[in-house]
């Protein structure tokens, strides 16, 4: 940090000198580049400051442009003479441009020049140096870049240029951001305590990460230990040994502050005894007695009395040392009024962060629930309503996702391709479902074990087929531009747009299925056939046809779910396998044979999974294990799921 400060002082200095220097040295930039050519070609974050300071100090008008291009990796070095140029690829060769004058400087083959690639840390230093040139730049992108740079590495000397630029700022968005940054800089580096406290107070209505960073930095503490609390120090809190910190830690602090002697370990004592072995005795204690602990203690005490070794630190010594000192944490900021204001502000911020975290948790759970719902709703129809255990359900999801991928290859416009892909995925998986029902499942009704094995086999076959056609690489299913990004409420709560879209899609399908099952003739027939096929048949319903259509419908929805899942995760031949277990759990927990049950099941599993993840953030795998445990227990209590069908509809 001090080095950054120094370089900034240099920057400021040169700003005032700039008009003078610019006329005096026209070759300044190039001369400096040659002087520091090694650093220009291979810059390092910790060493680049001198070079940047020299560049800025030169006042050459071409420096800002050079810094920008350098960071953008448009500067090249010619191998033959080590000169630097801007270069642009033209065919096989590069067209060179002079750095100082901007005039064309001939061409060079690719082998003769080398691109210079400053790393991320160096680029950050460069963008910090560029701030002063960019704050009032007519180009709004440069101004925003300057504000980003300030936000990333705030320092005291940025306040003045920032304030100066606020007066001339026209764009309301940038102006608001500049004012906000000004507030944050004032809170950290303001000249008077009053100004800082006012700025800190203003921050308490925020909750973003960078504001919390500012407040936390003001509240940085360092550990201290002394015989009594130092006068005039801004004490954060006093720590009691044995409570806030263990006695061993407290004593270690005393030792490192050189207020107490370190406790000798057994090995150290042994080494000291060995070192002072004289004529077969140590401190007058014969060697034979040294085998016992008491003997060694006596020998060591004798050595200590002679002053040959440091005195033994006993438990009493330690207790006395701990009692006679105070342990505390001291704010780095000496002004108690400022730290008090920052504590208050941070307290207010923390409460609000907590509230918004709950909102974020809700959004995440809702999103996960809607994904599970979408993946499971097709299964809710085939397994829930028809009672067919379809292990290939996940592969219908995969089929839908690959349909989306293929359509994207044919129609480059992502929005249009999505509009085409959704119904197409439905049609294809509907057809696949119907084919599977006709060819396999209808021969196996009421034989669940055979169905399970047969569909499992189909699932493996479909996976291998996908591998043969599309390869093993994950295929991109890119979402349209308007689905990129996220709905960011604030720095704590936010949700990716794609997840909102999935949520909406899940809602649409919930309504659609409810409508089909409850309000249409085919829905009536489906319910009739599943409740009593014989009776339904004698009423003039063709159970064969209804079974086929129902199975097709369930599969078709899985296909659409596949597109949704592919948009936010990966399209691979195994993607179905990731969802089949969750889907079955959702249906079983929710209650077989009921769309509302699936909804309840998805909500329960989604919230539960997020809840466990939240409690145990370091191990997402554990979350899934606990969840399965919970579900097993849940099924013991409610074997028929959350929404259990009653009466004849239950089918038993």
């Amino acid at each position: 940090m001090p080095r950054a400060l120094l370089s900034f002082l240099a920057l400021l200095l040169c700003l005032s000198l700039a008009p003078l220097a610019a006329t005096a040295q026209n070759t300044g930039l190039k001369a400096i580049l040659q002087q520091y050519s090694g650093e220009v070609a291979k810059p390092g974050r910790q060493t680049v400051d001198t070079l940047i300071a020299a560049l800025v100090a030169s006042g050459d008008a071409a420096v800002p442009a050079f810094l920008q291009n350098w960071a953008d990796r448009e500067v090249y070095q010619r191998r033959t003479d080590g000169e630097f140029f801007y270069a642009e690829k033209q065919g096989d060769a590069y067209a060179l441009t002079d750095i100082a004058t901007g005039a064309p400087a001939g061409t060079a083959p690719a082998a003769e020049i080398e691109q210079i690639r400053p790393n991320g840390g160096v680029r950050r230093t460069i963008s910090t140096a560029l701030v002063q040139f960019q704050l009032s730049d007519p180009n709004i992108a440069s101004r925003i870049a300057a504000l980003d740079a300030i936000a990333r590495s705030p320092s005291a000397d940025q306040i003045e240029p920032l304030r100066a630029s606020i007066e001339t700022e026209q764009d309301p968005g940038v102006l608001a951001r500049k004012k906000r940054l000004d507030g944050m800089l004032t809170a950290s580096f303001g000249t008077t305590p009053e100004a800082r406290i006012a700025a800190i107070g203003a921050l308490s209505s925020e909750l973003s990460v960078d504001v919390r960073a500012v407040l936390n930095q003001i509240l940085t503490t360092r550990a201290g230990v002394a015989e009594s609390l130092p006068e005039g120090a801004n004490i954060a809190r006093v720590l009691k040994p044995g409570k806030a910190l263990t006695e061993a830690e407290a004593y270690a602090r005393l030792v490192s502050a050189e207020l107490a002697q370190p406790v000798q370990s057994r090995e150290q004592i042994k080494a000291a005894l060995t070192a002072n072995l004289v004529d077969g005795a140590v401190g007058g204690v014969p060697l034979g007695q040294l085998v016992s602990e008491a003997g060694r203690d006596r020998a060591y005490a004798a050595l200590a009395a002679e002053g040959l070794v440091p005195a033994r630190v006993t438990a009493e010594d330690r207790a006395a040392a701990l009692a006679s000192h105070v342990f505390y944490e001291e704010y780095a900021e000496p002004d108690a009024a400022i730290t008090g204001a920052a504590e208050d502000a941070l307290g207010a911020v923390r409460t609000r962060v907590g509230l918004w975290q709950a909102v974020d948790f809700g959004l995440d759970s809702l999103s996960l629930a809607s994904i599970y719902f979408l993946a499971a709703i097709g299964l809710a129809i085939t397994f829930g309503v028809m009672g067919v255990i379809n292990m290939a359900h996940g592969e219908f999801i995969m089929m839908g996702a690959y349909t989306g991928y293929v359509v994207q290859q044919l129609i480059p416009d992502y929005t249009l391709s999505l509009i085409v892909a959704l119904p197409l995925a439905f049609v294809i998986t509907f057809a696949a479902g119907v084919a599977m029902e006709r060819l396999v499942i209808r021969w196996l009704y009421h034989r669940p074990l055979e169905t399970l094995l047969a569909t499992f086999g189909i699932s493996i076959a479909l996976q291998q087929l996908a591998k043969n056609i599309f390869g093993t690489q994950a295929r991109p299913l890119t979402s349209p531009h308007w689905l990129d990004g996220a709905w960011i409420i604030n720095d704590v709560a936010g949700i990716a747009n794609i997840r909102i879209a999935i949520f909406v899609l899940a809602l649409v399908f919930l309504c659609l299925i409810l409508f089909i099952l409850n309000k249409t003739r085919i829905g009536l027939e489906v319910r009739a056939v599943t409740q009593n096929p014989g009776m339904a048949a004698s009423m003039g319903i063709n159970p064969d046809k209804i079974n086929m259509l129902t199975f097709g419908l369930g599969s078709g929805i899985a296909g659409i779910a596949g597109i949704a899942i592919g948009l936010y995760a990966q399209v691979t031949s195994e993607m179905g396998g990731n969802y089949i277990v969750q889907s079955f759990m959702t249906v079983v927990v929710g209650g077989v044979g009921n769309v509302w049950g699936t909804l309840a099941g998805a909500a329960l599993i989604g919230i539960l999974q997020k809840g466990i993840e939240w409690m145990n953030p370091s191990n997402t795998l554990a979350a899934q294990t606990y969840m399965i445990l919970f579900i097993i227990l849940f099924i013991q209590v409610r074997p028929k799921g959350i929404v259990a069908l009653k009466g004849r509809a239950a089918g038993d």
């Binding site: 390092g44 974050r45 910790q46 690639r117 400053p118 790393n119 991320g120 840390g121 160096v122 950050r124 980003d148 990333r152 990460v209 960078d210 919390r212 960073a213 500012v214 936390n216 930095q217 974020d360 995440d364 999103s367 996960l368 994904i371 291998q464 390869g471 093993t472 690489q473 994950a474 295929r475 991109p476 890119t478 990129d484 990004g485 996220a486 960011i488 720095d491 704590v492 936010g494 949700i495 990716a496 747009n497 794609i498 997840r499 899942i565 936010y568 995760a569 990966q570 691979t572 031949s573 195994e574 396998g577 990731n578 993840e613 939240w614 953030p617 370091s618 191990n619 997402t620 795998l621």
Partner: protein
């Protein structure tokens, strides 16, 4: 059945009698044990193709010891116990002379007992967590000191990262690497509460909570960096979520140890520009050897869009070293070849020379690359060749261990007690 057994006995007898006269039985068989299906297929299929290309090239150049090479490919289907079974099949039934295989450490650990029992030769091409040195395995990928430690140094020195999120898939490689990194970071003065660790299952896709957690780490004003040991196709969801939540490399840089050109080819990388990866090879490395290798690869696979990556280079080096060692030994006998592998040298594709050490690890340069919009990497840092260290210096229990199969004849030698802890690597 009985007839077949009789026949095979006769054949075996005939082979034994012939073996005395001939140095090697033609054709020389090379086992290829990479998953062609399952979650690791995304990475491993390419390595199978690489091996076929290398063997094809060697055959066109006249084979080895006057014999043609024959590839025997098995698909262990990303199923770790199946790796052991298929390895046994390769050695006992197919009588291969060497096996090139595995991606995940879990699969290598599964294979170890088999190849040590049957004294076979195994080349493992992927960066891994170290803490191992088997008599029968040559590790041509990077050990932690050739990838994880230099990348962490880069984070500390060049990017000024003060708070670390170690995200990994839940299996042996990420867990061991993160344990080493935690010890290393603490030795560099990073406090325990500034290290956030998370493990997710293979194929994990719901990354929103974890990415928000990582973003929230910056609340105390420290620079946050992510070290990712996420493996397989879970990476796609992870990077998509990073992009969706607007995490730019300038705010929170991510360095990945298992994401290379191949993995990125399944992604739209425009939002990932500036994130990092650490490897010993990048396709974008300039040089004639690399250009030649890429050309051969494109010609072999018949697709100009296919990329090359680090484990491919590892197989390239490993295979050529094996060929040279066999040529020098004039036999494919495992013990003789092993003797000639120590000190074997072969030029890297990125320049310089790789040397096989007596601890069965290579010395290679470490490269750090930034992701470009076209899915390739800009190499922004490269070191001198670093010898691979089988036992890390940053865990107290491993710091005292050493591996030297030449003089000490031990892969787990305790330098304090001056004894060989054990020969077998069933730890």
């Amino acid at each position: 059945m009985i007839k077949a057994m009789k026949f095979s006995t006769v054949a075996a007898l005939a082979l034994i009698s012939a073996g005395a006269a001939q140095a090697a039985d033609c054709p020389i068989k090379v086992g290829v044990l990479h998953s062609l299906s399952g979650t690791m297929a995304i990475s491993e299929t390419t390595l199978k193709d690489t091996m076929l290309m290398l063997i094809d090239k060697q055959n066109k150049a006249g084979g080895l010891l006057g014999c043609q090479l024959e590839a025997v490919v098995k698909d262990p289907a990303s199923d770790w116990p199946l790796f052991a079974e298929k390895a046994r099949e390769l050695i006992s039934n197919d009588k291969v002379d060497v096996i090139f295989g595995s991606w995940t450490s879990a699969s290598r650990k599964a294979v170890l007992p088999v190849i040590e029992e049957l004294n076979a030769l195994y080349f493992y091409p992927v960066q891994y967590e170290g803490e191992e040195s088997s008599k029968n395995v040559f590790y041509t990928g990077a050990a932690p000191n050739q990838q994880a430690i230099p990348a962490t140094d880069y984070f500390l020195d060049e990017l000024g990262v003060e708070k670390f999120a170690l995200l990994g898939t839940d299996y042996v490689y990420p867990r061991t690497t993160n344990r080493i990194l935690e010890a290393y970071l603490k030795s560099k003065g990073i406090a325990e509460e500034d290290i956030f660790v998370n493990y997710t299952p293979f194929g994990h896709s719901d990354w929103s909570t974890i990415v928000s957690d990582v973003k929230a780490l910056g609340a105390d004003g420290k620079q946050v960096g992510v070290i990712s040991t996420i493996n397989g196709d879970a990476n796609i969801g992870f990077y998509k979520e990073l992009a969706a939540q607007g995490v730019s490399a300038d705010d929170i840089p991510v360095v990945a140890f298992s994401v290379g050109e191949e993995e990125l080819s399944g992604l739209d990388t425009s939002n990932l520009v500036g994130h990092l990866a650490a490897w010993n090879y990048f396709m974008s490395a300039e040089g004639e050897a690399n250009a030649e290798f890429i050309k051969e690869w494109h010609a072999f696979i018949g697709d100009e869009k296919r990329v090359t990556n680090d484990p491919m280079e590892a197989h390239y080096i490993g295979f050529n070293m094996w060929v040279n060692a066999v040529t020098a030994a004039e036999t494919t006998d495992v013990d003789a070849v092993r003797g000639h592998m120590w000190g074997q040298e072969f030029p890297n594709l990125t320049g310089g020379t790789a040397v096989m050490g007596v601890n069965h690890h290579l010395s290679k340069p470490v490269l750090i690359g930034e992701i470009r919009a076209d899915g390739q990497f800009d190499i922004i840092s490269s070191t001198e060749p670093v010898p691979g260290d089988a036992w890390t210096d940053y865990l107290p229990e491993s710091a005292v261990l050493e591996s030297d199969w030449k003089d000490l004849e031990c892969g787990m030698y305790n330098t304090e007690t001056k004894t060989c802890v054990q020969i077998q690597s069933n730890y």
